[in-house]
């Protein structure tokens, strides 16, 4: 397993080439894909998330690690699909209508993917209708809403209400985040959770999926 430890290190160090090469080697050595992911890749990203939270890593290091994992994961996806292995959860994420900020959302996306979630990023300025359509088509477990302006926060409430009106509210968990957002606001608009950081968003998503 020394080679797989090197895979862990390659992801932590953001070395996409090495991560991919070591994954190819692991597959050639008949290591089960599930073991590669849950034994080494997800723990590597958890380590990266922890380094980011304690300010050892900046965002570039985090995203380069995320990119390294994603590149290696592409080798495993067909094998996982063939074996019927499900992701940790399916997430639809976007910045709400009227808001063009997306950096925080992109960080959450990267960490969720690193945590084994299948993430569908709708971008910025996303209408409630688009969130609903994406949640339906991707069979989302979680809908994650981001807003960076106080004047666009009301669009989070509108989106939650739209899910109620569409009869989808009970089939998804809705979580919110962004600089002006608070836990109180999440409660007030009927969201299922709020996270104040990208790492906390992953922990929240895991707990909502029942995987603490």
């Amino acid at each position: 397993m020394a080679e797989l430890q090197k895979l862990f290190d390659a992801i932590v160090n953001g070395d996409a080439k090495a991560a991919r090469a070591l994954t190819e080697q692991a597959l050639a050595d008949n290591v089960p894909p599930g073991e590669i992911i849950s034994g080494y890749m997800i723990p590597a990203m958890d380590d990266v998330g922890a380094k980011f939270e304690c300010e050892d890593y900046f965002v570039p290091e985090l995203l380069l690690s995320g990119r390294a994992m994603k590149g290696a994961l592409e080798l495993l996806r067909p094998l996982l699909a063939a074996s019927g292995t499900e992701p940790t959860g399916r997430v639809v994420i976007g910045t709400v209508k009227g808001d063009l900020h997306d950096i925080g959302k992109n960080l959450v996306t990267s960490l969720l993917e690193g945590g084994g979630f299948e993430v569908h990023d709708l971008g910025a300025d996303v209408s409630p209708e688009k969130f609903i359509e994406a949640a339906r088509s991707h069979k989302a477990d979680i809908v994650a809403l981001s807003a960076l302006l106080t004047v666009t926060m009301p669009a989070m409430k509108t989106t939650v209400e739209a899910f109620c009106q569409a009869g989808l509210r009970d089939s998804v968990k809705i979580i919110i985040g962004g600089a002006p957002v608070t836990a109180q606001y999440a409660q007030a608009i009927g969201a299922d959770g709020y996270s104040e950081s990208a790492s906390a968003a992953v922990a929240l998503a895991r707990s909502l999926m029942g995987n603490n």
Binding site: I103, T150, P180
Partner: protein
């Protein structure tokens, strides 16, 4: 260069002052407050429109009441349009008319000198990749300029976003080459095109084309550094490099004052001689920064960035921040009147300069070094690289002298930035070719003038 040395860069004084609005001369010897105000959390649509108008009426009334009470020698109000007000130009224009009427009343009743700056939202990045030179967003933006000019704006500005689609990606991955491509190649191309149009619209109506800001580039980096998401040294180098794209507005005819959130303003002032607006310690209603005092050192307008119309213990927040700015300006102007402007400027500078790399590149001396590096080159790409190198040198000298303390991971990043600047090709077209595979899909070539 419009100045020979750092001592000529003083607050309140610009080599080329600007007369505008109702009897105001910006950069003519005094610093004036620029009060920037916005709505609380409220949906902007026709059903709420009367409430929205009421908010702006209240904000302007209270700000001007405070200004008159405190006997400010002059004031600028900035109306930053929210996206919905730019999308529906008539909405923005209605508020501009209301604000201008308030200023005219205060002028005729109390002799308050003033000007109104109006800043439409640059909505051209709605598409991915952004389409900058045609289509509905550009048409709405252009109409918004026309409507607000006709409605009574004295100064027109914008926080333009050309190149941001690549810059954001570059910032996120700490990719200096991508950042230089965005700031040194893409952004200047968009600035030249956009500001040609803005200056033409303003000239036709006798309105001042004020200036732009690298807010979407350098302030994004600053805020991410504040949140410990990016290294401070990267934010500092980006700040220096971003002056080049903001300068292009002036090459097209902008006359100042540059936008309050253009912390690169001092470099603009050193090169063009035009007055600048700055924000710092009194902008905490909007965001925090490591340059609260030093940002005032060379300002001609002193701003609060943006404050919502919410109730504080004293009164409404816009009125409270108008007072805060008024007192800041009063202190600066009193020091000037007593011949002590240079001393106060020095204190404002020294109190911040070596406590953050971002402050270190904003001192008057650093400003002149970066400005000289810029004007020694001819093209935006070379200027951007030169500004970056000057910023790295300033930080290295600070480290070597022991004045600047950096954590090991910041020092590592400074080395990385230095190395990446050294790997850059000699011209922007070569860099564009180098980055085509990794960044080509992020931008629309036609939006930058390439066929």
């Amino acid at each position: 260069m419009a100045v020979d040395g750092a001592d000529e860069l003083l607050y309140g004084r610009a080599p080329f002052p600007l007369a505008c609005g109702l009897g105001l001369t910006i950069g003519g010897g005094q610093v004036y407050p620029e009060v920037n105000f916005t709505l609380p959390a409220i949906m902007i649509d026709s059903s709420n429109w009367s409430a929205i108008i009421k908010h702006y009426q209240e904000m302007a009334t209270n700000i001007l009441k405070r200004a008159v009470t405190l006997r400010v020698p002059g004031i600028v109000l900035e109306f930053e349009l929210l996206p919905a007000m730019t999308e529906t130009p008539e909405w923005g224009a209605e508020i501009t008319t209301l604000l201008k009427r308030q200023l005219e009343q205060a002028h005729s009743r109390y002799g308050l000198r003033s000007a109104l700056r109006v800043t439409p939202t640059d909505m051209r990045d709605q598409a991915k990749p952004p389409i900058l030179r045609k289509g509905a967003p550009w048409e709405q933006l252009s109409k918004s300029f026309e409507h607000n000019i006709a409605a009574g704006a004295d100064i027109m500005s914008i926080e333009s976003i050309g190149g941001k689609e690549v810059h954001d990606q570059g910032l996120m991955y700490g990719d200096v080459r991508a950042i230089v491509f965005a700031l040194g190649v893409l952004a200047p191309r968009d600035m030249a095109w956009l500001w040609k149009h803005i200056c033409e619209m303003c000239a036709a109506a006798g309105v001042v084309p004020g200036g732009d800001t690298a807010c979407g580039f350098a302030n994004t980096a600053m805020q991410l550094a504040h949140q410990k998401m990016l290294p401070e040294v990267l934010a500092a180098v980006v700040r220096a490099m971003s002056a080049v794209r903001s300068l292009v507005a002036f090459e097209q005819g902008a006359r100042g004052p540059s936008k309050d959130c253009a912390y690169e303003g001092p470099v603009i002032k050193a090169i063009t001689g035009c007055p600048i607006s700055m924000e710092g310690k009194s902008a905490t209603c909007a965001h925090f920064s490591p340059v609260g005092n030093i940002a005032a050192a060379m300002c001609d307008l002193w701003s609060n960035e943006s404050v919502q119309n919410v109730r504080l213990l004293s009164g409404n927040a816009p009125e409270a921040y108008a007072e805060l700015l008024a007192y800041d300006c009063r202190l600066m102007n009193t020091a000037s009147a007593r011949g002590q402007a240079l001393t106060l400027r020095q204190w404002l500078t020294e109190s911040d300069e070596w406590l953050s790399p971002q402050a270190a590149v904003l001192s008057p001396e650093a400003t002149v070094r970066i400005a000289r590096a810029i004007v020694a080159e001819q093209e935006p790409y070379g200027r951007t690289v030169a500004a970056g190198r000057a910023a790295v040198e300033i930080l290295r000298e600070g480290l070597a002298s022991g004045q600047l303390n950096l954590a090991a991971k910041e020092r590592d990043w400074l080395d990385k930035i230095d190395r990446e600047l050294d790997t850059l090709p000699p011209n922007g077209e070569d860099l564009r070719a180098d980055l085509e595979d990794s960044f080509g899909s992020l931008y629309d070539p036609a939006s930058y003038g390439w066929t």
